[in-house]
Point group: C2
Chain length 351, copies 2
């Protein structure tokens, strides 16, 4: 029998954090692509548009007028999926028809007063201000809610309906599905091995090196062994940190700098403003804030859809929706490509 | 406190088949949409294109020439994600780095010799031929492999790279992730309640009626209580059937007819060739074919992405990728809209 080579031979890999498997079939990159090519968006975003509800001084859907903010700006989502006061659906009459109450709040956070910048084009101190705002909103909403989900949908391909640089914060009265899985896996691993799953994982990746993308004094960026999206990454602190507010000033500055480098590499990969969804996961909050959450390690997931170019994405459809995630290049190949890219943004590089 | 109304008040619902939760926030449909609008595809597919590798008589990537088939046509995928002979990755040296062998085959099945038809535009006997071919391929590949995944990606929006009506069949040496979940849930339900989960679920929905879309002598189509995609449906036999090959001739004819009606309603909803991924799930095969699989009920899932119109889809991004699925209209509202649609295709209706 042939010797196994991950880049030639399909195999399945286990995601111990979310208890899922992925099919890795790297030889599939050889197939020609005749499917959908996304529209290449022209960069015609004005710096300020008084009709854009995210801009300083603009009027929002509910009639409120935004302040003339000059840093980050946090406000209530005018079309929230979660509201603080929804009534309880009551008890179910059958085990196959279970519904439960869901309460929460949805906020929007603008990263910058200008519409024509993105995180990698912002300065390190400006990104640091975003990190501080993330920590504050986690603390503020975490006082009441067990889960505070910070996430950024970047680019029209990711359903983002407004080009102004921003993220969302949805806090809920329940632990969402993926939070529950991560809670369970990290709890089990900690009780079996006596250390936090992701702290051990980060250590191992520092030794193995082949999936590392960036390292700094306090942070690691890698393509996880079990990555599903072509250029998916995981951003981890080196120290055992459970939630965003615990990060000290040096770790926050360093995070701003490594985020700028990672997102610059992403943009440089296909010389486009790289679309993705990203989000933070940390230990549950609310009543759990005091509880020992030593099994938890803070981390951010980046899920970018592009596969071959600025206009050809990976579709998670068919087999992926009905059977199992499947990827077309190995995580090691993806990490190698990201490592090799410059840390200077292609829009700023001297020609 | 206000009285709970599912169409007004957000809540979470449990999917007992796949052990997952979904957030239902129907009031979200009120928000305006300023995001991506998909290109409206012009119907310019020629009936026969000698350069299209799925057409009768065409030459494929590997040099093989297709026969001049006049019904369905099954052949090996020229760019398979699964191959029969991949070597084993060997044992892992660490519990966080687990990989396993994956073997299998990938086939493509053309539904019809013409490129310019889709299932709802085919005749009932032509659809019946597709069903027979599905049953045969399940039997054939199921002799060797524990899981035979039949799925159709329809439309460019669903990553489909060829307009010729076709589906794919991926058979694997492992039970894929979602198959494992359905196996576990149905097994547990059966041992606790003494009946198959989906058989009981179908009975309950026939009594409750509000999520039914279509019923026939042998089949039920409904929007599941826990649906994630806006117009997701579940297609169930009334009788306890574990796998496609078990369907008798009357059930197959009736299935062809109800599929034609469902897919016609889908096309009529936004007067477009409705994109979706669909697939069949039945009891595991291979060595399990003989085992008692009484907890299993055969079913098909339809996952269509469109939300508001032929060009505005639901994006499963951000919160959905990082926390939990979320939907913007209730399953009951979706079922009501589908029920109200005519069973004559808008392209065939007399104006
Ligand atoms: O094999 P195809 O049709 O080219 O590819 C399509 O279906 C596959 C199976 O669902 C997916 O993995 C691909 O991302 C998608 O583009
Ligand atoms: O709230 P937005 O940005 O308009 O909407 C976007 O993000 C939400 C949260 O991930 C998704 O539910 C929507 O499908 C998506 O279009």
């Amino acid at each position: 029998a042939a010797t196994f080579r991950a880049s030639e031979h399909q195999h399945i890999r286990y995601n111990p954090l979310q208890d899922e498997w992925v099919l890795v079939s790297a030889h599939r990159m050889k197939r020609p692509w005749q499917g959908l090519v996304e529209p290449q968006l022209l960069k015609t975003v004005p710096r300020h548009d008084p009709l854009n509800p995210l801009c300083p001084g603009a009027t929002r859907a509910n009639g409120e007028v935004n302040p003339h903010y000059d840093g980050t700006f946090l406000f209530d989502n005018d079309f929230p999926a979660l509201q603080p006061d929804a009534p309880d659906p009551g008890t179910s009459d059958h085990p196959l028809f279970r519904a439960e109450a869901a309460r929460g709040v949805c906020k929007v956070m603008c990263f910058h007063p200008w519409s024509d910048v993105t995180l990698p084009l912002m300065s390190v101190p400006e990104i640091r201000a975003v990190i501080d705002a993330w920590a504050s909103v986690t603390e503020e909403l975490g006082a009441q809610y067990p889960w505070v989900q910070i996430f950024e949908n970047k680019g029209a391909m990711m359903g983002c309906s407004n080009p102004h640089p921003h993220c969302q914060v949805w806090a809920s009265s329940f632990l969402p599905d993926i939070a529950q899985r991560e809670e369970r896996s990290q709890q089990t691993y900690h009780s079996q091995h006596g250390k936090p799953l992701l702290l051990e994982y980060g250590h191992q990746e520092l030794l193995r090196k082949e999936r590392l993308v960036l390292t700094s004094e306090h942070w690691i960026v890698l393509v996880p062994f079990w990555a599903v999206w072509p250029f998916q990454t995981l951003l981890l602190p080196r120290r055992h940190v459970r939630r965003l507010p615990e990060l000290n000033p040096a770790e926050r500055d360093d995070l701003a700098s490594i985020m700028k480098k990672l997102l610059t590499k992403y943009d440089n990969l296909f010389e486009t403003s790289f679309p993705y969804s990203m989000g933070w996961h940390g230990a549950p909050t609310g009543l759990k804030t005091g509880a020992t959450c030593d099994h938890w390690q803070l981390h951010a997931h980046y899920y970018p859809p592009l596969l071959r170019s600025a206009t050809v994405r990976k579709f998670m459809v068919g087999y992926e929706m009905l059977a199992q995630a499947q990827r077309d290049l190995t995580p090691e190949q993806a990490a190698e490509r990201l490592r090799a890219l410059p840390e200077v943004h292609y829009c700023l590089a001297q020609k």
